[in-house]
Amino acid sequence: MKAVGAKLPRYDGIAHVTGRTNFVADLTAPGMLQARVLRSPHHHATIRSVDTSRAEKLRGVRAVVTHTDVPKNVYGHLEALGVPADEPLLAEDVVRWKGQPIVAVAAEDVDTAMEALELIDVDYDERPALFDIRLAFEPDAPEIHHWGPVFPHFGPHNHRRVRKGDVESAFEKADSIVSGVYRPQAIEHCPLETQAALVIPEADGRLTIHSCTQAMYFSLGVVAAHLGLALNRIKLVGGTVGGGFGGKVDTASETISAVLALKAERPVKWRWTREEEFLASSTRAPWHIELEDAVTSDGWILGRRMVTLHDSGAYSRFSPYGLTKHAFHHTGAYTIPNLKFDGFVVYTNRVPTTAMRGFGVTSVSMAVETHITRVADVLGLDPWEIRLKNANRIGDTTGNLVAMQDPSTVPVTLATAEKVGKELAAEYRTMNSERRSGGLLPEHLVAQQAPEGAHVLDKAGAAHGSHGTGTGNGGGH
């Protein structure tokens, strides 16, 4: 614990201030080629034909690759869990977002690679596109994937579910029902360093990959899966990331560079332009959140119904995982005994979305906290008091029936109140996180409380009178 509170030098600080830090953009290799990628100019289109012959003949072009050059072109991040793949590395017969890669070129220099792109002939048949997740379920909505408008693999369901207690009866008993709709929007991570990779095909057949990835072993697995290589055939060099914020969790540049390097038998570097970073790198997802609380006139939250639509863009990538985190956090830092949550990962013809700082959680936290203040406004109560009253306490159970051991809602809320000079009545000022009892254990919170020392409630909740069926299982990781 010597490090806590101590001022420690950054191990990379001197390198940063002297320009000695080597980002992927700064690296070269003997014989290195430069890559550029032809991206879809349409949001949604059928590809009738692709003709790369003119590009291949251009002086200085060393490799042109399409989906037929990729050993396993369609891959999914959740395949290891039995979820079918849905995203091609290079588009095959359909493009589903503006910016989707179709053909990649490696040439002696960037200018030649860009010139080659202009010599590639693609014949498109444009299709209607979907951008608004709220319209995805309409009968005449454009079909993005043949299996339907949502990622369908959440165990037995086509969406992530949370069920706890008896939400219908909670809404019957409520003094008021307060509803709200919250729509946090997409955000581009915008790291100063754009996506970049340098792939060196070694003489022994191995690949050395310099990558800006935030997720070394993840990227290793993705590249190996696409190329059909054993993990020990790839040496991934990384750890120097010029800003990521979640946007460099996706394997954005390594695999296409590797396919080119293998075909050209030369090192290949691919550094995205700023324009590509904005148009084609994944963003934080937009969400549509409908929230409804059953509340009593003295500020107890008896039940919550919530429906979330998570804009996944054209492919699922990590969205099922993000939505699962979102589902887990849909009660916020508060204990609500009766819950019905349904969350859908919805496809649109947008760039696929991904992790960003608090993946799936920032969206739901914004909705929940705004909503609690709205509840207070409707009831004419102090929003601080509602928060403290419903705050998580030891022995309270989460939406998926896990007993809380060390919740921090009360101390954090009190510390915040003190910092901002909020005056609280004594009964709130003296609150702590101990197990509920007396006035803080009204009838509606008895059944959800786990017995002392228990870590989780029985899934059926039978032992303690809850009628919940627990969370949906399987799917998103």
């Binding site: 600080g13 940063h16 201030v17 002297t18 320009g19 080597n22 360093e193 700023r274």
Partner: protein, 172 residues
């Protein structure tokens, strides 16, 4: 065409319209100036041209003439840090490091130009064209003000091969 980079004359074979950033990075292998947006918007490629901060991505090498170009390598190395570099390191003003060298050069130009302590407003003005996506700027601004007051301003041995950047004034 001849250029003077960090006090050293260099011949370039690039055409006069080539961006200085490309020449530095690809011809001379000086990679401290970073390509962030390559359209003058982010400041990551900032170098000094006769002591003034310039976007290397927007400067055509043919326009440089006899001007002296200084990159962060010209301020100090790992064993010979300039005051501004010490301040950035000591005050955690770099996070991922990609924007850092450009910020350091802009800060150096500001301090050289004012010749002493700089105000917060002056720092904000000098950094207005520089984007950092990691730190939120507070530590960067604090580091520059601290460097300007001489807190890190122990002079280095004079090196005649180095450019005439007044990088290490004695504390006021």
């Amino acid at each position: 065409m001849e250029l003077t980079i960090n006090g050293v004359p260099r011949a370039t074979a690039s055409s006069p319209v080539t961006p200085l950033l490309t020449v530095l990075r690809e011809e001379f292998n000086i990679t401290s100036a970073k390509p962030g947006c390559e359209q003058g918007g982010c400041g990551a490629c900032t170098v000094l041209v006769d002591g003034a901060p310039r976007r290397a991505c927007l400067v055509a090498v043919g326009t440089l003439g006899d001007a002296e170009v200084t990159t962060v390598e010209g301020l100090g190395g790992a064993q010979s840090l300039a005051a501004i570099q010490k301040a950035f390191n000591d005050r955690y003003a770099a996070q991922c490091g990609y924007c850092t060298t450009g910020m350091v050069m802009a800060a150096q130009a500001l301090i050289d130009g004012t010749g002493g302590s700089v105000t917060r407003d002056q720092v904000l003005e000098a950094l207005s064209g520089h984007v950092c996506r990691c730190t939120g700027y507070v530590k960067i601004v604090d580091a520059i003000i601290a460097a300007s007051t001489g807190e890190y301003g122990v002079d280095l041995a004079a090196d005649p091969s180095q450019p005439k950047v007044e990088r290490n004034r004695a504390p006021a």
